[in-house]
Structure formats: C-alpha cells, structure tokens
C-alpha cells in the first residue's frame, strides 16, 4: 500500500512530495503547502486509494527559525484499512495554509482549534473563530513561547 501511494502521488504531483518519513510502520509524507487541497482531493477521490475519512488535523510548533509550524492531516482509508499522515510546513512570517473544509467537512472544528492554539490562519475557512479560548484572548497557548502558567492579566475578569 505504501508503495502504491507514493507512486501515485509522485506521478500525479511531481515535486510536491518533499520528504518521506517512516517510523514504527507509519508513513508520513511532507508535502507542498500550496498543493494540499489538490492532494487531499485526489487521495479522497481516487478509487484505489479512497482516503475517505479525516481522522485528525493538528498543528505542531517546532520552535525553529525557518518553517516554524507544521500542520498535519491524519487520513484513514476505510476500505483499505490504512492510515496516512500528510504534513505541511508553514513559516512564521506567512502563517497561512489553505483550508480543506471543502474536501473534508470535519476539518472545520479541527482547523478552528489549530487556529486557536497556534494562530495558523486557514484560507477560505467558513467560520474561523477561536474554539476554546475567549474571542478577546490575544495569545496562542500551545506555542512554545507561551508559558505554562499563562500570562498574568491576559484573561480579564468580567466587569461588574
């Protein structure tokens, strides 16, 4: 299965697969950030691959100068019983990636959560609001530079 996915993706999207990682029998592909919507659509609609379910979408702060953030897409093919992880790398200066809600509607809340926690903007998202934190909150809690104990005064108490 792993070979078929790689072969098909390389054929359809040449130069879009930037890196391939295999660890504990799990396949992770780092793909081009600008091609993520097309790749997801292809993976979902291809009759042989049929990755019809998005299980998880989340962000990672790598705390590096270049390509600080990662967004990863955990796809599942119900027919083939196979999981595939896609990753895109995002630079802090251009903290944006295209939303895949048009392909997988379940990505809606996952993307809102990622925006809430990391401040990554998802282009063309239908309703990009914070998921857990209050609307007025200015920080992004899961970034590595946000302290564990929080920032004093960042959550004002309601006025009487």
């Amino acid at each position: 299965m792993k070979e078929i996915i790689e072969l098909k993706l390389n054929e359809k999207f040449p130069d879009s697969i930037l890196e391939k990682i295999e660890f504990r029998d799990e396949l992770t592909l780092i793909v081009d950030k600008n091609k993520i919507v097309e790749i997801c659509q292809y993976l979902r609609d291809d009759p042989e691959l049929l990755f019809d379910m998005l299980i998880d979408l989340c962000g990672v702060d790598r705390a590096k100068r270049n390509d600080r953030f990662e967004v990863l897409y955990n796809l599942l093919s119900l027919k083939n019983k196979f999981r595939l992880r896609l990753k895109v790398r995002i630079d802090e200066k251009d903290c944006k990636v295209d939303s895949i809600t048009s392909i997988y509607p379940t990505a809606n809340w996952h993307e809102r959560e990622t925006y809430d926690m990391f401040g990554i903007i998802f282009n063309n998202h239908p309703d990009l609001r914070r998921m857990y934190m209050p609307e007025e909150f200015e920080y992004y809690p899961l970034r590595k530079d946000f302290p564990l104990l929080g920032i004093p005064g960042s959550l004002p108490l309601p006025k009487k």
């Binding site: 660890f23 504990r24 799990e26 992770t28 019809d52 379910m53 998005l54 299980i55 998880d56 989340c58 990672v60 702060d61 990863l72 955990n74 119900l78 019983k81 999981r83 992880r85 997988y104 509607p105 379940t106 809606n108 809340w109 996952h110 926690m117 309703d127 609001r129 914070r130 998921m131 857990y132 934190m133 209050p134 609307e135 809690p141 899961l142 946000f146 564990l148």
Partner: protein, 418 residues
C-alpha cells in the same frame, strides 16, 4: 441603564454571525418570528458544560451553533510539560465515564512510541478493564438518554448495574473514577481472585438485567416516537463529518478500531461489530445496547483465557518497578528515582495510536524529541468530533428533540474540551 446602542455593542460576535448567516427563515407572521435560544452551559440535558445557541422559528430549529471551551484545561500544554508517567492521571479526566480505557489508550501510545512489549497477562487485564469501562459508559449513555426523553426508571436501573462494575474497579485499582491504573509497560496492580469472582457474578446476571432494561424501552411508544427518525445522518455524511464509534456504526459503517487495527489481543477474540443502517437516535441506542452484549462476550473469553505471569515488563530503563520492591530494594529505588526525575526517553519520532473507546476512536499523536517530555501530545477525542455534526442532526427538528439527539450522540465534555 444601557441604551440600545450600548447593548448592540456588547452583543457577542457569535450572535452576530448566527443572525447574519443565511437561512431559509422568512418573517411572515409576527407571532411566529424567529428567535435565538441560549441552551446551556448549565443545562441538565447537555451532559456537562455544552452551550448551544439555537436559532428557532416557532418550535422548529433552523440553526444551531455549539460553543465549547467551558471545561478547557489545556491538557495538551500540560502533557508537554510533564513526563509520560506523569500524564497518566490526567487521562482519567478526559472521558470521565470510562477512565480505564483512556488509561489504556495513553499507555498503548507511549509503548508504541518507545517500542515496549508488554506481558500477555497485562494485555488481557487491559482488555478486561476496557470492556468493563465500555459497559459502564454505555449504561450511563442509555440511562441518561432515556431520562432526557422522560423515562426515569431506566436511569436508576442502569446505574444499579454500573455500580457493580464500579465496585470491581474500586477493588482492582483503589478508586472508583480517578483510576490511573495502567503503567507504561503494564498495569499497576494484579487482577485478583475476588475480582474474577465478582466479575463472573456480574456477567452471569447482566444479560437478564439488560433484557429487563430493554423491555422498558424497546416497546415503549413514547420512547420510540421520541427517537425514531430523529436526528438522521446518512452513511456518506457520517464519514465526511468524521463520526466514530457507535454513532458511526448506527449509520451503517462497519468501522471499529478493535477490528480494523487490532491492538492488545483483540485479533484472538471472537466478537461482532454491531451496525445498524437507519442512522437515527433509535439506531444509536440499539448499537449501544448490542455492544454491551458483545462486551459481555469478550469479558467471558478474556476471563477464560487470562494467562498467569507478570503484569509489568522487565525493562529497568523505561518501566517503573513494583512498588513493594521500590521500598525494600536498592536497585529498584534507583530505577524509580531515575524514571521519575528524568522520564523514559523514547527515540526521536512521532506516532499516532488509537483505541476504540466507548465514545469512539480515542487517539494520541505523540511527538518525541528524545527527552523525557513529549514535544507534542495531541488528543484526538471522539466527543469533540462527534459534537461537530450536532447542527446537521438537529436542523429541522423540534426544540424538545435536541435533548434526545444530544443524549444519543453521548458527548462527554471533559473529553470534548480537553
């Protein structure tokens, strides 16, 4: 007194988005005008602190916006700042109706990341506790769902059954809810003969008791009319919305992590994956009841096959030793000191490991940078994803159906808010 202008300034952005969103609602009659109803966060039928903003026309729901975050405790941030062992007690507080299966899920994820093999006895104990947690959680789901639509007796009867399981958990782990029972590389304490005895008694009585509970509901006209055809979600839509667990299987999708990606020793256990095709609230109830029967089957097989032997794997650099040995022997004390202070150090890498929880697929995505602390721990909680389809399910139904639909989705806010 605030003026009208001030009030509009204070009205939240959520309300604005809700009101400006396009819907097929037209004001024709002044008495039938649309309004926004705020349900929760403190509402008994929302099973926790779920807040719903409901746009209604008369009594028909035209739109619904769930608001989460009232129980957000930042577990993913806590995980990044604690060792792998330290995070186990926090997993109890995710899905607090089935803490034992959360413990199992996290321990399995860390073991996959670090490459630790666990003894066979520990595997079977973990399977037993997972199935016990499943029965306990489904009993609450069925009971509260029945209570939401007006049947009080069912709740009392299901809680009576659940109490028997809680007693076994109490004997086994020393706590009824905050169990923290699994360890990386095994389980904390051994399964005893008293537990076997009590569990055998439970599984011999439970099927008849469950039948009695079913009799209260399956032919109950009020229950059937409140749930049949309410909150229907099609197979394709359910997959697209990422539903998992009983909610997905009620829509006719044959996906169960225990069968699709077997973990522990589930490939050697004979059980059926329950599916119904209707996709309504009633089907979700049927799936839960039938799954309890399957869990009894699994428990029976596990008790028959339960092997003897160690419950913790012998791996001094990564697995905590037995508590007795820590207090009486020098080497074990040193191991314990090193593990508690520096943590186990898995190799650099990342994994996703998931189990079939009562609510759906609970997954942990762990990234290790080679130190004792996880670099990133993402919790893929089933309730969070299942709740997302609530607006689709309630659209077009009556206000009173909302409670039946929430009851049939069975969300736990501890898990949805993380």
């Amino acid at each position: 007194m605030n003026t009208q202008q001030d009030k509009s300034e204070y009205s939240s952005k959520i309300l604005e988005t809700l009101l400006t969103k396009e819907s097929d609602f037209i004001i024709e009659d002044t008495l039938e005008s649309g309004m926004v109803l705020n349900m929760g966060p403190q509402h008994p039928a929302t099973h926790g602190v779920l807040r719903l903003l409901i746009h209604i026309d008369g009594e028909t729901v035209v739109g619904c916006v769930p608001e989460l975050g009232y129980l957000h405790r930042g577990y993913e941030k806590i995980a990044e700042n604690s060792t792998y062992h330290e995070f186990i007690p926090h997993t109890d507080r995710l899905d607090y109706l089935a803490p034992l299966s959360n413990n199992t899920a996290f321990a399995l994820a860390v073991e996959k990341l670090a490459g630790i093999e666990i003894p066979k006895r520990a595997k079977y104990i973990r399977m037993i506790i997972s199935e016990m947690a499943r029965i306990a959680s489904h009993l609450v789901a069925v009971g509260t769902m029945a209570m939401d639509v007006g049947a009080m007796t069912v709740l009392l009867w299901t809680f009576r059954e659940r109490e028997k399981l809680q007693e076994i958990m109490d004997i086994l782990t020393g706590a009824r809810f905050t169990t923290s029972y699994t360890r990386i590389g095994g389980v904390a304490s051994d399964w005893t003969s008293i537990c076997t005895e009590k569990l055998k008694k439970f599984i011999s009585e439970f099927p008849t008791n469950l039948e009695e509970i079913e009799k209260l509901l399956n032919t109950n006209r009020i229950f059937l009319e409140r749930t049949e055809g309410i909150g229907v979600i099609s197979k394709e839509k359910a997959i697209a919305m990422g539903l998992t667990g009983p909610n997905l299987r009620a829509s006719g999708v044959d996906y169960d992590v225990r069968r699709a990606f077997p973990y522990l020793d589930y490939e050697n256990i004979d059980f059926e994956v329950i599916t119904y095709s209707e996709g309504d609230s009633l089907a979700r109830y049927f799936v839960r009841v039938d799954e309890m029967k399957e869990s009894v089957k699994i428990l029976r097989q596990c008790l028959d096959k339960l092997p003897s032997g160690e419950i913790l794997s012998h791996d001094p650099k990564r697995v905590l030793p037995h508590k007795v040995n820590i207090y009486t022997r020098m080497e074990e004390l040193i191991q314990d000191f090193m593990l508690i202070n520096f943590g186990l150090t898995p190799p650099v890498g990342e994994i996703y490991s998931s189990v079939e929880n009562p609510k759906g697929e609970l997954g942990f995505y762990l990234v290790s940078d080679g130190t004792g602390y996880p670099w990133r721990c993402k919790i893929r909680s089933p309730s969070f994803v299942n709740l997302q389809s609530l607006p689709i399910l309630v659209k077009g139904h009556m206000v009173s159906d909302i409670v039946a639909i929430i009851g049939s989705i069975d969300p736990v806010m501890g898990e949805a808010d993380k």
